[in-house]
Symmetry: C2
Subunit: 529 residues, 2 copies
C-alpha cells in the first residue's frame, strides 16, 4: 500500500524492481523509540523497491497503523489487552523510575523490575498467541512468500514467526541488560575485563572493583535471564515449533545483528562478522525550521540556543521538578526550546519556549544550537553526535544512564542526577558544556567519526538485509561457537584433560620417587645393620 | 617520481590533491608475494593522489627499485648482505620444505625452522640497522613529513620506523604462526575452541582432539615467539627508542590491521573494530589474453583448460616430480597452461604448454577455465575465488597447507600431497574438481561472497589508510585490552579474589559448625556424666 504521502515511492518501486532484486520484508516491530528508529530503515527499504509488511499489535504506543499515507502494509494483530491497559502499564513503569525507584533499596528495585518484566512478557505472549494460534493468518503470511523478517529481540516473538514462515531473519537491536542476549544467544565475545555490561554505566577502562562488579553483573544477568526465559518462553517455543528448543537457541539463528550504535558511541570491543554497528542510521542533515521557530532561534544572537527534550515517552514532570528546571533555564543568556506537554512551570523564564513537538534533528543541526539537554535516549543522542552538539544528560531509566555515561567518558556530556537535581546543578552543567570548549571539541570529534565511514550506516543496514534476501541468509558469517556447549566454548574440557594428565604424571613421578627413597632407605638400613 | 608508465597519475595526483586530502605515505615492505599484494594497494593510493615512498633493501627478491616506470619513490637501504646471500637463503628454505622436511622427525623440522627464522631475523636486523644508524636518512625522512607508514609485521622494523618518525602506522598482514602477532600484540580475541590457529590446517568445527591440538599450539607458539622476540628484538627496540619497550608492545600500536583475507576464505571468528578483512583487494576482471594463448585456450573446445602454477617462488621441480605431474596432465582431455621455468619433463603431453610467465588472473577469469592447480598462495587462491574456479591444491610451505585446508573445508578444492603424489592422484583430483559439479558450485558461492560486499576490499583498505592520515590515527578503534596484563585480561585476579572470598566464608562457616558441634558434644557429655 503506497499512500499519497509517498507518491514517489511508486516510481522508486517500479524502478528498483525492474533493475535489481525486489524483495518482500515482514517486520515484527518493537514499540516506542525502537519503532522510530527502525521506521527510517523500513522507509529506505520501500524506497529501494521492497514491499514492507508490519505485523502490528492492535494496542500499541507509537505504531500508527491507521495512517493511510504510510508506505507500509500493516497486518493488525488483534491483541486481547486494551490500549488503556498498555498505557497504564507504561505509566506505572515511568512513574516507578521517575518518582519511586530513588527511594527504594536495590532489592526492592530488582523485585519491581522482575514484576514489570512479567507484565510486559505477558503482553508479548498474548501478542504471539494472536499469530501462532491463527492458522488462517499463518497461511496468509506463508502465501505472501516473504524473503526476510526484521525483528528486535526486545519484543520476543519475531524469531518464532521467522521459524514458522521458514524464512531468514535479521535483528535490529540496541542492547539487552548485561548484553545477555548478544552474548548468550548471539555468541558475541565480551571479555568482562574491558567490555562493560550494558546498563552498568561503566567504561572500558575499569578499576579492579569495577571489573569485579562487571564480572558479577554478567554472571547475575546470565543466571537471571536464562532462568526467566526457561520459565517463560522455552516451553512455549518448543510447543509452537513442535520440537525441543529454547528462546535463546532460536534467537541465535539471526543471520545479521544490526546494532544501533557505532564506534563514536561504543567503546572498542570484540565482535563477530554477522554484527554490523549501524548507529545513527536515522540521522540526516538539518532541514529549515518553521518560520516562528527560526525567528526565535535567531533572536538568541551570539548566545545561541539550547534544545531540551526528555524523549518520546516522558511528556510531563512533577510541578517541583519542572520549576527547578525552568528556573535553571531562566538564568541562562541562551534561548531555550523545550519539548514539554505538562503544566507550564511558574518559574518559566522569558528566554524559554515550550513546544508540544520540536523538529529535534533540524534544531540540533542549526548553527546557533549550543547544547542539548537530553534524557539519554539513543536516537536523540545520535542526532547530537551527528551534529556535534555537547550534551547535558538527565537519565531516568533503561539504557539512559549507560548512554550518558558513554558520552561523559568521551568528554561530550555532563550528567545531572534527575532525582537530586537542584536549579544550580542544571545551570552549572549547561554553562560547563557551553563555555568549556573541550565539550564542543569532543562532540565534534564524535561527529567526525560518525560522518567519516566507508558506507553510511543506513546503506550498510539496507545492504545486509538485501544480502540476506539475495542469498537466503548469511550462513558464511555464522560462528561455529553456536555448536559448542559452554564448557567446550571456554575449553574447560581441554583444560580438565590437561590438568588430569599433568596430575597423573606428577602422581606417578611422586610415587616413583617415594618408592626409590624407601628402597634406598632400606638398603642404607641393611648396610648399617 | 611519476614515471612514463603512469602518465595519467600526474593528472590524478593534481586532481585529487586539489579536491581532497593528499597525503604522504612511507612503506616498509615485505618481500615476495606480500609485495605483489601490497603493490596493488600502493598503486591505488598513488592513483588517488598520494605520494608513496618505499624503503627498499638493496638486496631483495621482487621489489624492482630500478624500474623507472614505477609510480613510487624508492629510498634504497644499502644492506650489508648481498643478493647472492639472500637468494641462497631462499633456495635453502625452499629446498628444505620441498625435498627434505618430509623425511624428518617433527623436532628436526622445528629445529630447522628456528634456524631459518634466525637467518631471516639477522637480515631483518641488518636492514633495520641501515636506517636506525643513519641519522642523515632519519633526518631526511623526518623532513619529508609523512602522514602514515604502511608495514607488514612479517618484516619486523616498520613499527620501529613509525615510532622514530612519530607517525601512525597501518599494517597489511596475512598471518603469523598460530596468529601469535594478531593475538598477543594486536589483542585479537581467538577462542581456541572454534578459531583454528594459522598453519594448523584445522577448520572451525573441531573434534576434542583437534581442540586440544589447537589449544596446545596456541600456547606453544605464544611461549616460543614471546621468548624469541625477547631474545632477538626487545632490547634492540628499547635501545633505538631510548625507553624500555618490546617488539610486541610496539606492534600493538598499529592503528589499523588490514588482514588480507575475507569471510569467503576465513571461518567466522571474533575480531576487533581496528581489523579490516580486505582479502582479494588485488583481484580484478579478466583482461583479454595474448593472441597465441587465446588460440591455445580456444582449441580446448568443450573440455576447457586447466591453469597450473606453483607461485612466484617455486620455479622448478625435481625431474621425478615434474614427470609425475606432466604424465598426470597428459591423461586429461583439457588443455593445460603450466607456468614453469625448470627442465621440460619427458612425459609432457601435447595438451600441455609450458610458459615462463602466465597472466594468471586473466586466465582464471577466462570462460573456458575449468580448474586451477595451485600451491595455495593467498594471492592466486583469491584470484580463483574471485573468478569462481575450483582448485587442486599442492601445498608446500608457510600458510599453503592451511589455505588449501580452508578451501577443502569450503568444498572448493581437493588437496594432493606434494611429497607422496603419484600420477593417478593428481589426475583423480583434477577429474574430481572438474566433473563433480559441487566443487564448481562451491567455488561460485565463494565468488558471490567476494563480489557481494558493501565496499570493495581495495576501496576499504584505501579508506582506512586515508582515515588514519586525515585523523592522525584511529584511536577510537583501539581496545582497552592493550592496557591490561594477561591475568587482568582473563579476569584471573577477579576470579582469584572471588575464590579467596568464597574459601574464607566456607572456612569460617566450617569452623563455626565445628565449634557448635564440639560445644553440643561437650554439653551432651556433661549431661550424660
Amino acid at each position: 500500500m503506497l499512500g499519497p504521502k509517498f507518491p514517489w515511492l511508486l516510481w522508486a518501486y517500479t524502478c528498483c524492481c525492474s533493475t535489481s532484486f525486489c524483495g518482500r520484508v515482514v517486520v515484527w516491530p518493537t514499540d516506542a523509540s525502537h519503532w522510530i528508529n527502525v521506521k527510517v530503515l523500513l522507509e529506505e527499504l520501500v524506497l529501494r523497491g521492497h514491499e514492507v509488511t508490519v505485523l502490528v499489535p492492535s494496542s500499541n504506543l507509537l505504531i500508527n497503523y491507521q495512517d493511510t499515507s504510510s508506505p507500509f502494509t500493516f497486518e493488525v494483530l488483534q491483541v486481547p489487552f486494551s490500549q488503556e491497559t498498555l498505557d497504564a502499564s507504561m505509566e506505572d513503569f515511568l512513574n516507578f523510575w521517575m518518582n519511586e525507584a530513588a527511594n527504594l533499596f536495590p532489592w526492592e528495585i530488582m523485585w519491581t523490575m522482575k514484576e514489570q518484566l512479567e507484565v510486559f512478557t505477558n503482553m508479548s505472549k498474548q501478542t504471539c498467541d494472536t499469530l501462532v494460534k491463527n492458522s488462517h493468518l499463518i497461511a496468509k503470511l506463508q502465501q505472501a512468500k516473504f524473503d526476510v523478517l526484521i525483528a528486535d529481540p526486545l519484543a520476543v516473538g519475531g524469531e518464532l514467526v521467522a521459524e514458522i514462515l521458514e524464512i531468514p531473519f535479521v535483528y535490529s537491536f540496541r542492547f539487552s541488560d548485561g548484553n545477555v542476549v548478544e552474548r548468550q544467544c548471539g555468541g558475541l565475545p565480551s571479555p568482562p575485563s574491558y567490555v562493560p555490561a550494558s546498563t552498568m554505566g561503566l567504561t572500558h577502562q575499569m578499576s579492579f572493583t569495577e571489573r569485579l562488579q562487571n564480572f558479577l553483573f554478567y554472571i547475575c544477568t546470565d543466571l537471571f535471564f536464562m532462568k526467566f526465559w526457561r520459565d517463560e518462553w522455552d516451553e512455549y517455543y518448543s510447543n509452537v515449533l513442535g520440537k525441543p528448543t529454547t528462546l535463546c537457541e532460536t534467537m541465535g539463528k539471526a543471520e545479521i545483528w544490526l546494532i544501533r550504535t557505532y564506534w563514536d558511541f561504543e567503546f572498542p570491543r570484540p565482535f563477530l562478522p554477522n554484527f554490523e554497528f549501524v548507529g545513527g542510521l536515522h540521522c540526516q542533515p538539518a532541514k529549515p525550521l518553521p518560520k516562528e521557530m527560526e525567528e526565535f532561534v535567531q533572536s538568541s544572537g551570539e548566545h545561541g540556543v539550547i534544545v531540551f527534550t526528555l524523549g518520546s515517552m516522558v511528556h510531563s514532570l512533577s510541578d517541583e521538578k519542572s520549576n527547578v528546571i525552568a528556573k535553571a533555564l531562566s538564568q541562562l543568556p541562551q534561548k531555550v526550546l523545550w519539548r514539554y506537554k505538562g503544566k507550564k512551570p511558574e518559574t518559566l523564564g522569558s528566554n524559554t519556549r515550550i513546544y508540544d513537538w520540536i523538529p529535534q534533528n533540524d534544531l540540533l543541526g542549526h548553527p546557533l544550537t549550543k547544547a542539548f539537554i537530553t534524557h539519554g535516549g539513543t536516537n536523540g543522542l545520535y542526532e547530537a553526535i551527528y551534529h556535534g552538539i555537547p550534551m547535558v544528560g538527565i537519565p531516568m531509566f533503561a539504557d539512559q544512564h549507560d548512554n550518558i555515561a558513554h558520552m561523559v567518558a568521551k568528554g561530550a556530556a555532563v550528567q545531572v542526577d534527575f532525582n537530586t537535581m537542584k536549579t544550580q546543578d542544571l545551570a552549572d552543567a549547561l554553562n560547563t558544556v557551553i563555555y568549556n570548549s573541550t565539550y564542543k571539541e569532543n562532540a565534534l570529534k564524535l561527529s567526525k567519526i560518525q560522518h567519516d565511514q566507508p558506507v553510511k550506516p543506513l546503506d550498510r543496514a539496507v545492504f545486509w538485509i538485501e544480502f540476506v534476501m539475495r542469498h537466503k541468509g548469511a550462513k558464511h558469517l555464522r560462528p561455529a561457537a553456536h555448536h559448542l556447549t559452554w564448557y567446550q566454548y571456554h575449553s574447560l574440557d581441554v583444560l580438565a584433560f590437561l590438568f588430569t594428565c599433568t596430575a597423573t604424571v606428577v602422581f606417578i613421578l611422586f610415587k616413583c620417587c617415594l618408592c626409590c627413597c624407601r628402597r634406598c632407605g632400606r638398603i642404607a638400613k641393611r648396610k648399617k645393620e
